[in-house]
Amino acid sequence: MDLAIIEKIFAIVGGIIVFLVAVIAFWNDRKSVGIDNHVFKLMLVLLAVGAALAFFAAVGLLGNFPKAA
């Protein structure tokens, strides 16, 4: 199989897993207090966003594609 396709499949699967893990971790932590925990929650949200971006890039909805000439 083409290397690029393997890369994409891994990225898609990994993106979904990381997204779910980050969201679940955020949900478990949602009531925690303290400045460190607040920062952690913010970071988890951004992590989920990052995972989503990677997922969309891998499925081809986002990213650098040659513009239609």
């Binding site: 891994f10 993106g15 893990v21 971790a25 995972a51």
Partner: protein, 207 residues
């Protein structure tokens, strides 16, 4: 002078020592967060420089340079983001006293971080040898891409070592279930490195 010989550890009871720990931890936590803020500013400045140069009106990427490979970068990003998740759960497990699972997740984090670095190395060599894109020789594209991702890679590299040291420290009993500021700092740092990559990934590969 009397103050010079204060035997505080003898006079203070155990509860006071704990309170003192909480307070120094509070100072260190605030200091560490502010350090991360200044690091964010450092990255932001370079990101500003990149966006500024990118918008000086010659199209991007500049002629003669191919677009970056999104698929591989997405995979590599997922590796780094995954390490963020494992790191988060490592700290959670430490807090709950599951030291075994903590160690496993830490090792996973370190391995994933190292994998990200290898991926970046692979990407750099591909760019350099196959596409002839280099730091100094490819105009503002090479300058901004390699400077920013290199700076981030350096942070990851430092982070991998930092986490390794933390793991060894925790194996040797430097931290306890109650007192683990070093691990909190390590987790904050690692999350910070991840989140910077979210931004870099978006501005280099997605837009």
């Amino acid at each position: 002078m009397a103050v010079a010989t204060l035997p505080h550890a003898q006079t203070a009871d155990h509860g006071e020592v704990d309170r003192l720990y909480a307070e120094t931890r509070d100072l260190r936590l605030n200091g560490f967060l502010l350090f991360l803020v200044s690091d964010v500013v450092l990255f932001s400045s370079f990101i500003f420089a990149y966006l500024y140069m990118r918008n000086t009106g010659q199209g991007w990427p500049p002629p003669g340079i191919n677009r970056l490979d999104v698929a591989f970068a997405a995979l590599n990003s997922v590796v780094l983001f995954g390490s963020g998740a494992t790191m988060h759960y490592a700290l959670e497990n430490w807090k709950h006293g599951n030291f075994g699972r903590y160690a496993g997740l830490m090792v996973a984090t370190i391995v994933l971080g190292a994998m990200f670095l290898c991926g970046q190395g692979y990407e750099y060599t591909t760019l350099y040898f196959r596409e002839h894109v280099s730091w100094a020789g490819s105009g503002i594209f090479g300058a901004s891409f390699f400077t920013l991702t290199g700076m981030h890679g350096f942070h990851v590299f430092v982070g991998v070592w930092y986490l390794t040291v933390l793991l060894l420290q925790s194996v040797h009993g430097v931290y306890t279930k109650q007192k683990y500021f070093g691990l909190t700092a390590g987790t904050l740092y690692w999350h910070f490195v991840d989140v910077i990559w979210v931004v870099l990934f978006s501005i280099f590969y997605l837009i």
